[in-house]
């Protein structure tokens, strides 16, 4: 048996094929189809969800390994009438075309900003001790999310806007 919390709601699954990925559990058993299956091999990031607050690829982990974990999917990030600031920013900056990668992009971006808030460096950081958020940092940290429509410049704009509300306001 598996007990898992998805978007704040506890779910108990009595029978589950051990081979079920977390992504398939969310989509096929819980009925939340916002998390997308792109490559199913951890290469595209369309399945990105937050597990205990950390972004991971839901396709590359077994559901049964997540007993007791708290999962947040795009459905738990915001709703059509109560959008998360990151969702609003993606709309404002046209951060998508077909939209297939967008739930993963948004979950990943939210997880990524939390990593920056914790002071985690990246491959793009010149100094491992001091994290400065610029476009190169955003691109590097989001490299696990592919967009085949190539909306990357607008995705970077959207994320930058959410990351730097204060400096943005000052500039305006």
């Amino acid at each position: 048996m598996l007990t898992i919390t998805v978007n704040g709601i506890e779910r108990r699954l009595e029978t589950l094929d051990v081979r079920t990925s977390l992504l398939d559990l969310l989509r096929e058993h819980v009925g939340l189809t916002g998390s997308k299956k792109g490559c199913d091999h951890g290469q595209c990031g369309a399945c990105t969800v937050l597990v205990n607050g950390r972004r991971i690829n839901a396709c590359l982990t077994l559901a049964i390994m997540h007993d007791g974990d708290e999962i947040v999917t795009i459905e738990g990030i915001g709703t059509p009438d109560r959008l998360h600031p990151m969702q609003q920013a993606f709309l404002r900056h046209d951060g998508y075309q077909c939209g297939y990668c967008t739930p993963g992009q948004i979950c990943s971006a939210i997880g990524m900003l939390d990593e920056i808030a914790k002071g985690w460096p990246s491959h793009a950081s010149r100094d491992l001790q001091t994290v400065l958020l610029d476009d190169a940092e955003i691109s590097e940290r989001m490299s696990g999310n592919l967009c085949r429509c190539s909306a990357y410049p607008n995705i970077v704009d959207a994320i930058r806007e959410v990351a730097e509300p204060v400096s943005k306001a000052e500039a305006a």
Partner: protein, 328 residues
């Protein structure tokens, strides 16, 4: 994916005991194993889930080194203050690997146990001595752009994909393992194997042995530490060539050099004669070139990967220049 029995281990002892079942495998982050199970390359009959075992700390050691729990995620290790400050080449190597999502899941022990990214290994329709011993090597005479130029055999020219392990090798890491016969410590230099005629065996772990930690000795004093990775795109790609270097300069002369290489061989590559060739030299292009001569004396391209020989030479030169500049 083939069916398997799943069991979560409550203790390391439980885990080691559960591995007595034929075809059993440990699973932690799962980012490589599950991928390989999906393509039917890995076919475990039983998965022993070790992800909740308490190997999650990075601890300072009395000798000034650190002990890294086997389950510390790659992202946490890269961000750890001690690693960033004292072992920056390791932080850099970790950050050069995979993506943010994967680093959040991939573990220290699992990173060491990554399997090759050789396309012939991944494709069950093609021959591969690593996946199916005796079936032949598709990469020899095939498409071998990413393959080994050092230490390969006529059975296998695959490379090891890890960045982390390359930096750890240059840092003289040791691996703490526990198995049915008890605990032991293996130098990372002796952990991975060359392919020889048994390329299906990646490491010198005994059956059932569990990685519990990686030990790093105190950081090399006053050394310039560099990790450089050359790849086909700027992010989220495996190394064609990577170099980890720790260089200590004393009165203008190289006093100590520790070098390890990724993308060149079946295991993270270290050649002490290259390091010895640098000791006593003033940092200079000719000295770096002589070190590259030594490194690449036995290098052999297989066609598509011939470029790696020059790429390794140039990357080594650039890294040594940078490390010499960074040495205090």
């Amino acid at each position: 994916m083939r069916d398997f029995v799943y069991a979560r281990a409550a203790t390391a002892g439980d885990a080691i005991g559960a591995m007595a079942a034929p075809g059993a495998r440990y699973i932690a982050g799962g980012t490589n194993l599950i991928d390989l199970m999906k393509v039917d390359v890995e076919r475990p009959s039983r998965l022993v889930d070790i992800s909740r075992l308490p190997f999650t700390d990075v601890e300072d050691q009395p000798d000034g080194g650190v002990r890294i729990g086997a389950l510390v995620p790659n992202s946490d290790l890269a961000a750890h203050p001690r690693i960033r400050r004292d072992y920056p080449m390791l932080a850099r190597a970790l950050l050069a690997g995979a993506s943010g999502q994967l680093r959040n899941k991939a573990t220290t022990g699992g990173n060491l146990l990554q399997r090759t990214r050789c396309y012939y290994f991944y494709d069950t329709a093609l021959p591969c001595n690593k996946r199916d011993p005796g079936s032949g090597c598709g990469a020899i005479g095939g498409f071998n752009r990413i393959h080994a130029i050092l230490g390969a055999s006529e059975s296998c020219i695959a490379t090891h994909p890890s960045d982390m392990a390359v930096a750890m090798l240059a840092l003289d890491a040791r691996v703490e393992v526990r198995g049915p016969a008890g605990a032991r410590t293996i130098a990372l230099a002796d952990f991975h194997r060359l392919p020889g005629d048994t390329p299906h065996i990646d490491t010198n772990l005994e059956p059932g042995e569990l990685i519990e930690a990686v030990l790093l000795p105190p950081p090399p004093a006053a050394a310039g530490q560099v990790y450089r990775k050359v790849r086909d795109r700027a992010s989220y790609a495996f190394a064609l060539v990577s170099v980890a270097a720790a260089l200590t300069i004393d009165q203008g002369v190289i006093a100590r050099a520790a070098l390890a290489f990724g993308g060149l061989a079946h295991k993270p590559w270290r050649d002490r004669t290259v390091e010895q060739a640098l000791v006593g030299e003033r940092p200079s292009a000719p000295a770096f070139d002589r070190a590259a001569d030594r490194l690449l004396a036995d290098a052999r391209g297989r066609g598509h990967n011939d470029f790696k020989i020059m790429l390794a030479r140039r990357t080594l030169g650039a890294v040594l220049r940078e490390a010499a500049g960074a040495a205090r």
